[in-house]
């Protein structure tokens, strides 16, 4: 009996030793693997979509530090593909139900509560205006904005020749996106009378800023959002008409929270209106003033705050647009079945060259929405029926990829981690 017992305990010991050895081997292997060089980790992380980074940056503190580094954020931005950002009324969303009830009596949390849908898991939806609200200055009941429906911020992403809708888990009171730039969007601040909000829908970091001078008539103004190629700073540019119909310009930079007037040439450049949201390229903003038959564009150098007027190669039609194409200004104009794409050499006045012509099968109006900065395709919206198409330059093919809501405005955007300025107390997470 004694012999058997010692034999079995001996066997047990061997098994234990083997298990321990294997555990040590595995740990050593893991330790070796975690010596993956920081450059490789950085390279891997830069390939992740921005929303994954928001979560995976918390794997450990070194990863957090990699992700928050401005150089990394810029490298990640350069690799990120364009999307289209838009607002959609909450009621029309078919994925999530968000209650419109406001929790009265709670001084701090005066926003609609997300409600669990029976089909989907609970979604933590962040209301943009929360934390921007000063609880002391607001009456709890009867705030007009709180009774209006909220909107969700969503985006359309284009991958592998298809498109689908992506979520930000964000809702807001604003009903239009004024402008976009490099991952930031500009919204109305419906809580404060007047006021804009700069928001990165991926990081949810937001800041409230004062509204520019109100024009005499509500729509006689234009907001542009651009980044200086010299300092990397963002600026919001506001053009508006005064009671005499003269155009003025004021700018809001990241460090001073007040608007300052800027010298604006008074050649009556915008006498018929400001047209659509200006296109922002690194270093400049470009407007086509008034839609119909405009034959020039107005550009502003962000750093020097200087304005230029550049003639268009031909008169602009109602659906013609300027969009960013590969870092340059592109002018996309359609005549019957031909869509011509012109590129402006240099930012100002070096001349246009016709880069490409797309020939359609039928005369159907195609409105250019944006170009995909990595892939190169141009996304069009068909005027009739609102299908969206992707044009591939290499294959010279226009492919239908989906359908959009004709009454919604879609702005070019990129999901990135950029921030309006270096962290301050005013920026809320």
């Amino acid at each position: 009996m004694m012999v058997t017992r010692s034999k079995s305990s001996g066997l047990l010991k061997i098994v234990e030793e083997r298990l321990l050895k294997r555990k040590i081997e595995e740990e050593e292997k893991r330790a070796q693997l975690s010596y993956i060089p920081k450059d490789c980790i950085s390279n891997i992380l830069a390939r992740l979509p921005a929303d994954s980074l928001q979560r995976l940056r918390f794997v450990c503190k070194p990863w957090y530090n990699i992700v928050k580094n401005p150089k990394f954020i810029d490298a990640h931005l350069q690799r990120s593909e364009s999307v289209l950002v838009f607002l959609t009324p909450v009621g029309k969303k078919n994925l999530h139900l968000i209650s419109r009830k406001v929790k009265m009596g709670e001084k701090e949390r005066l926003y609609p509560d997300p409600m669990t849908s029976t089909l989907q898991e609970t979604r933590n939806t962040v209301p943009v205006e929360s934390k921007l609200l000063d609880p002391n200055s607001l009456p709890i009941f009867g705030h007009p904005a709180l009774n209006s429906p909220t909107n969700c911020v969503q985006f359309i992403r284009f991958e592998n020749g298809e498109c689908d809708i992506g979520e930000y888990s964000l809702c807001c009171l604003s009903d239009n996106i004024k402008a976009t730039c490099n991952g930031l969007i500009l919204l109305d601040n419906k809580l404060k009378k007047g006021g804009v909000i700069v928001l990165n829908p991926v990081t949810k970091k937001r800041i409230a800023l004062p509204l520019g001078t109100l024009p005499l008539r509500r729509y006689e103004e234009s907001y542009g959002f651009a980044m200086s190629d010299v300092t990397g700073e963002f600026k919001i540019v506001h053009l508006f008409l005064d009671e005499l119909g003269n155009a003025h310009c004021e700018i809001l930079g990241p460090y001073k929270k007040t608007w300052r007037g800027v010298n604006f040439p008074s050649f009556g450049l915008f006498r018929n209106g400001f047209g659509l949201t200006p296109v922002s390229l690194i270093g400049a903003l470009h407007w086509i003033p008034h839609f119909e038959r405009s034959n020039y564009i107005v550009s502003m150098e962000v750093e020097k705050e200087k304005f230029h007027q550049t003639p268009l190669p031909l008169g602009g039609g109602f659906h013609d647009r300027i969009i960013e194409i590969g870092g340059s200004i592109g002018f996309v104009t359609q005549e019957e079945t031909c869509i011509d794409i012109w590129i402006l050499k240099g930012l100002f006045g070096e001349g246009w060259s016709k880069q490409h012509t797309i020939t359609l099968d039928t005369i159907t109006r195609m409105v250019p929405l944006c170009s995909l900065r990595i892939k190169g395709n141009i996304i069009f919206r068909r005027e009739k029926g609102s299908s969206i198409y992707s044009y591939d330059f290499e294959q010279q093919q226009m492919t239908k990829i989906g359908k959009v809501n004709p009454s919604v405005s879609y702005l070019p955007h990129v999901n990135s981690l950029v921030t309006w300025m270096q962290a301050t107390a005013d920026i809320f997470d």
Binding site: L33, N43, R47, R55
Partner: protein, 176 residues
């Protein structure tokens, strides 16, 4: 593993010695895909018949890297030629790492990084990125062998503050 030592054609070869003392003879054009090798032999300098030691790379990894570079060198010029070639290259990238465990890929990353094989490193990094993009923080920690350096309180605070970021992840897959 030795490649052709043709007596008919004089193929220029380069010799590499791995950490486990195995000697590999590679065709020169394949070996020159390794940035480290290219730098070692340079334009003049070190004669090509000298054996280069690569003490940080095991023969297992080197075999795979050689396999990738050989196939890649073959497909790349075809891809420049026509659409069919491009398709084949895309398919190659898509399928090449399919069967490998993420752990194996990380071993290859270490080797490819040491040898400076950029094309392979791009593919490896992209594969890892694709595999972790929808995964939970815990899974990624386990995968990389990283111990969280957040205290439990810090961790809880983060998960509460950024609750929206932690949602929508795939279920952690079974052990690789």
């Amino acid at each position: 593993m030795s490649t052709e030592e043709d007596t008919v054609q004089e193929k220029k070869t380069i010799s590499l010695k791995t950490s486990d003392d195995e000697v590999f003879e590679l065709e020169e054009n394949v070996a020159m895909e390794f940035g480290t090798v290219k730098a070692f032999f340079g334009d003049d300098g070190v004669p090509r018949d000298m054996m280069m030691p690569i003490p940080n790379v095991h023969s297992k990894e080197l075999t795979r890297i050689i396999d990738f570079c050989t196939k890649h060198l073959d497909l790349k010029p075809k891809a420049e030629l026509d659409e069919a070639g491009k398709k084949e290259l895309r398919k190659f990238y898509k399928e090449y790492m399919k069967e490998d465990t993420t752990e194996r890929i990380m071993e290859l990353i270490l080797a490819a990084d040491y040898l400076n094989v950029n094309d392979f490193l791009d593919l490896l990094n992209q594969t890892v990125a694709d595999r972790i993009s929808n995964k939970s923080v815990e899974y990624v920690r386990k995968l990389f062998g990283i111990e969280s350096d957040y205290t439990p309180e810090e961790e809880e605070a983060l998960r509460e503050q950024y609750a929206w970021a932690f949602e929508g992840v795939d279920e952690d897959p079974a052990e690789d």
